[in-house]
Amino acid sequence: MGILSGSGNKGRKLILIVYLLVSIVILLFSAFFITQAIQAYTLYQYERGFSLLFTGVIGLALSLYMLSVYMRRPGLIRHKEVRRMVAVVECVSCSYRDRRDYVSGDYVMKESGGCPVCGGKTLVTEIYPEVVGRG
């Protein structure tokens, strides 16, 4: 559907590689033209410098646009935050409060056994996601 979304997996991979190579080649040529332009300007060759700079900038813009499309292609695996669910358990009688991993079947206001400090009832009072890194 998109520029970089072919139908076949193999064909799509080939298109992606060719597309990326073309973008990099244009980027390298643009960088080369810009360095040549700087050289020309230092030698007071303004007309030559302008032509080279113009070509370089156009090429740079084109290659960066192509690369940005490549980076936004569908199916790209992006590194997302890795989260884990934690549950907070509190005693209804004393100030005991503990944080533990979420266990399937937990819900907020669920009674969660006896308090290790006073032996009273404990409740799951919070269940929330906690960021533990990027994966």
Binding site: G2, Q39, A40, Q45, E47, G49, L52, V108, E126
Partner: protein, 376 residues
């Protein structure tokens, strides 16, 4: 680098009065003419290419939501035709009653919405025959997410295909302007899938959690469909606390609960306090609490209408406390900041009760929102 310069000059690049300048002038002239004649179509084409990426993303989200629904339905079902029935359910729609004669339209909307909800619940119960009431509620919510994702994808694809067909820049502009909001909503819905699957509380349940914390330790009774209430004593005042029945994914019928308490049970509240999650504006902090007056309840407006009607009829002041969050946070697992908002909201409700209900008096507290992962 230095050695390549003569070669460039030789091929006419970068020399004095070079060929390249002439070529560029020609290119500019052609570019100018092309842009004058086909500018809009080229712009529409580029925008359509960008939109196509979003359409593709929405399609993948829709398929993922469908797969989640199938997985959960199959877990509690013996049937072989789960996918066929689900695909039929994903395209369920409801037709809004005509507003040519607006008298009584709220009742009509309520009737049709109830019918839709009942039909989906019956279908889910028919497929997932081994599921308990809590699982049925959660699967129902997962199917609802699937229905929403399917509709979002179909509507966006319609405008994308229409824009492609007509190459109309104005249609494409409208679609591109709306897409960030549509994608945000779709991503938020996808975030809700995990919460419903694991029965974890979501941000929208902040109001229900406030009610649950007030209710703890007292026996709750059913007062309306999927809705419970408990009478508590707070500093010499009697408060009926109302919330949807948890920990399954329910929003309940708080309007029916309030009406029943007042009209059938003969209660005479000094005030009704409603606590709900509210959408924050960009720049506002998640978990910020604000107070106001009126019925704090979202949705299409049926429940709001009913609550306002009862409050007006008996002259009961309506107080609102809201806990702010983004759309994404409202349907994603409840974040730590929202819990802080809940604790703040509890203190605000206590203050309102002390200030507005005389000692020995009576009031109603309603915790609005989806109570998935929140018991009572």
């Amino acid at each position: 680098m230095q050695s390549i310069s003569p070669i460039l000059v030789e091929v006419g690049v970068g020399g004095e009065g070079d060929n390249l300048s002439t070529i560029f002038q020609m290119i500019f002239l052609i570019f100018f003419i092309v842009m004058m004649t086909y500018g809009q179509k080229i712009q529409a084409w580029i925008m359509l290419k960008n939109i196509s990426l979003s359409v593709e993303k929405l399609r993948r989200m829709r398929d993922e939501a469908r797969m989640h629904a199938i997985k959960h339905l199959k877990e509690y079902s013996d049937r072989d035709d789960v996918e066929v029935i689900l695909d039929r359910m994903l395209q369920y729609f409801w037709i809004q009653p005509t507003s040519l004669d607006p008298t009584g339209i709220v009742g009509k909307i309520e009737h049709i919405l109830n019918l839709r909800d009942e039909r989906i619940r019956e279908e889910v119960m028919g497929i997932a025959s081994k599921a308990g009431p809590m699982q049925v509620s959660n699967i129902e919510n997962i199917v609802e997410i699937g229905i929403s994702m399917d509709q979002i994808y179909r509507v966006v694809r319609h405008f994308y295909e229409f824009g492609k067909k007509t190459k109309s820049l104005f249609i494409v502009y409208q679609l591109e302007a709306q897409l960030p909001f549509i994608l945000q909503e779709a991503e938020a819905l996808m975030g809700a899938l995990t919460a419903f699957e694991n029965c974890q509380p979501i941000g929208d349940g902040a109001g229900a959690l406030v009610a649950a914390r007030f209710m703890y330790g007292t026996k709750s009774e059913k007062v309306a469909k999927d809705t419970v209430y408990a009478d508590i004593i707070f500093e010499g005042r009697t408060i009926s606390v109302v919330k949807a029945e948890g920990p399954g994914g329910n929003v309940g019928k708080p309007d029916q609960a309030i009406a029943r308490l007042i009209e059938e049970y003969g209660r005479k509240p000094s005030i009704i306090v409603m606590v709900d999650a509210a959408l924050k504006l960009e720049g506002e902090e998640t978990g910020e609490v604000a107070e106001g007056v009126g019925a704090a309840i979202g949705g299409i407006g049926v429940e709001k209408f009913r609550i306002e009607e009862v409050a007006k009829k008996y002259g009961i002041p309506l107080y609102a406390v809201v806990i702010k969050q983004s759309l994404r946070e409202a349907v994603s697992p409840m974040s730590r900041r929202i819990y802080d908002g809940v604790y703040e909201a509890i203190e605000r409700v206590k203050r309102i009760i002390r200030e507005r209900i005389p000692a020995g008096g009576y009031g109603i507290l309603v915790g609005v929102g989806n109570t998935v992962g929140i018991g009572q």
